[in-house]
Amino acid sequence: MYGDVVMGVHSSKFEAVLDRVREENGYKFDNQMTVEQLKDVVREFKEICEKDGHPLPQDPMDQLWGGIGAVFQSWMVERAIIYRKLNNIPGDWGTAVNVQTMVFGNSGDNSATGVCFSRDPATGENYFYGEYLKNAQGEDVVAGIRTPQPMTCLVKERRKIDLPCMEEEFPELFKQLSDIRAKLEAHYKDMQDMEFTIQDGKLWMLQTRNGKRTGTAALKIAVDLVHEGLIDKKTAVLRVEAPQLDQLLHPMFDKNAKKEVLTMGLPASPGAAVGQVVFSAEDAEKTVQTGKKVVLVRVETSPEDIAGMHVSEGILTARGGMTSHAAVVARGMGKPCVSGVADLRIDYEGKFLKVGDTVIKEGDMISIDGTTGQVMKGALPLVLPEMTGDFGEFMSWVDEIRVLGVRANAETPLDAKTARGFGAEGIGLCRTEHMFFDPHRINFMREMILSNTESDRRKALDKLLPFQRKDFIDLFTIMEGLPVTIRLLDPPLHEFLPNKREEQIEIAQQIGVTVEEIAARTAKLHEANPMLGHRGCRLGVTYPEIYEMQAQAIFEAAVSVMKSTGKQFVPEVMIPLVGTKKELDMMHKAVDKMAQKVIAESGHTFEYKIGTMIELPRAAIVADKIAETAEFFSFGTNDLTQTTLGMSRDDAGAFLPEYVQKGIYEADPFASLDQEGVGALVEIAAERGRKTRPNIKLGICGEHGGDPKTIDFCHRVGLTYVSCSPYRVPIARLAAAQAAVRNEKK
């Protein structure tokens, strides 16, 4: 120890001696050595130090200063520096040095050493948890040479352990330790992780600290401590971290199950998934219809795969990072996803995948863990997370405390129901384009796109109208009067057209045009940079009939639901990609006109709001002018980040990881809002928007809406609500409450 730690003699030299002595005498453990053998070992150890040019200092004071120096030196060893980097610990904090009287747990049978928690760190249950070893030093408990003994008879019985527990072996000291457990917990008002040693019948405490715990335990302990009067609700809300709550919402692999890890990828979307392997979105849908569960395996995914992803248990991709299409969509759906598995080879033709020599065919079972990135062959057992009464109670405190509203990004009835189940207070973003990908209507959409005249386009749109109206009726019905913000068509039209020749042939037949027409239109719509191309309100300006149809569907649906339920509500229509007030004015006029028309035709009067996305820097800068028309702003921070940083999310994979690693950006700006840059634009827009329209509603609807750090920012800037994917809603609620408590304290 001193030899290698302080004097830098390589530890292998000492280990070689111990190995030899063990081998010569047929010992398994060091503690089998006799006194004479130990004396020889000591002599040899000292010789090693001398030969190395570092004789062991015999003066205790020299030893002490050597030890102190070694600890300070170790602050700057490479592994400590790396650890600090990984955990964002500043290097200038420095370390303290603790010099403490040695107590020995290995000085006889009236001695022991142990590690314990004041409550169960896995379940949070309130009982004394831990283990100890008689006649042993701390390192022996960790090393696993001997089986440690349980603290209490309760645990001994529960786990059917055949060893004596501390309660039996040291009844008086156990009583003393139990009192200390209660005292420390009451003092620190949190679950404690403690180390103790008994030397010759006297108990000493060597450490206490707030214990690490699972999500289940964090929640239970927080709720219990409030009931016990140790902490208040605001403190309790800070005791559960967002990732811990996330753990509670996804099915998990049974921790006791044996598993063999086949390969690893990125933990792109948390949770565990088990299912048959399928290699295309279509096969996923077909297989699921037969009542089977599937894991979709793709090289990478694209928007066309959405339906297949939706029915899959989980998604596994060979390419793509944490913000790839597969990862973003999977997180949105609450589906486990492992992405970027570098050694995964996929043969679409042969319908099999290969990792090294292991082949998995279509239909074989596979298990993926989106929390760790692990991929396992076969079906691992799953356990459902428990949504016990504690969860509900905890979340009610969360809702009492938070100021920010929490809505969900949702367009399907399933999404909307899920969102409400998770406590969403409305829909902050309904992406209407997702409604057109449905197989029953995509061809009407394509007919519209392939039309050469406005009247042909209107004919095709007339066919789409009933579908859209039905979509909105469903949403309004499920949301029961809660606010629903509907964004008009946003993506460029070529996203709806097929690129592959076979598909073009198939579609040409289906809708009665020539393949050449489809190919020509696809070519004509091709854009060098679609993100900055013919999309958003630019579609509304050039093809006003599209937005007219959508507005008609929204208002007719609203009237229909208001009439059938007898309750009034306020639909919110949102115009995407606005950069100038004039654009918004044009769109506003068209939507307004349609609203008046629906009111006149239905004889039913209702209120509605027209607002805009703020997703271009220009829009943020001229927000005061835009607010003259817009009744609400929703910050589309995905595009606002792309346009502010001049960085395409789809191409950022090539350099962004290195940027984050080198600290150019603190975190992935597509996952956590770049507060300094994009955040400043949000603040400018909020301030200028309010100047024109003091009561303007302000929301955020990008991926960032579910990120706790971004939510804290939104709270500070005073936004009205955040909107995120349905499965992130509970986390957003928690983060909003934590933001309220933290910022109140400051």
Binding site: L64, A70, A96, N98, V99
Partner: protein
């Protein structure tokens, strides 16, 4: 004069849990436990400021550190009624790191400081357990 050393143990401490930045997590909690009357083996914490000084001053210590360490050491000897380096009944020390946040296994620890060819005999005699004494000595080296 800057205070570089904070003692703890035997029902009292110069530091407390609120001094995590100065004493590190471990040191602050040892001080706090001592204050609330939990039995903690007496000891002292050398502050994180010494670490900062050490790296800012070419790996040297503040001039008055030695004096403060010696004073703290005598304090422990008095509490324990034993002496560091005593050949008949040696007091032994552990030296452990302790940053503001736990960095498990990242930095160095030295146990059983104070053992040498003479004190090991005293430890054997006092404990009546020669094997324990030599096992401790070899673990120390």
């Amino acid at each position: 004069m800057t205070k570089w050393v904070y003692t703890f143990g035997d029902g009292a401490a110069e530091g407390d849990a609120g001094m995590r930045n100065l004493l590190g997590g471990k040191g602050a909690n040892l001080a706090e436990m001592s204050r609330v009357g939990v039995p903690v083996p007496p000891g002292f914490t050398i502050t994180t400021e010494v670490c900062t000084y050490y790296y800012e001053n070419n790996h040297t210590y503040p001039a008055d550190l030695k004096e403060q360490v010696m004073s703290a050491l005598h304090d422990i000897e008095e509490k324990m009624g034993r002496k560091f380096g005593d050949e008949n009944d040696p007091l032994l020390f552990s030296v452990r790191s302790g940053a503001r946040v736990s960095m498990p296994g990242m930095m160095d620890t030295v146990l059983n400081l104070g053992l040498n060819d003479k004190t090991v005999l005293g430890l054997a005699k006092r404990s009546g357990n020669e094997k324990f004494a030599y096992d401790s000595y070899r673990r120390f080296i």
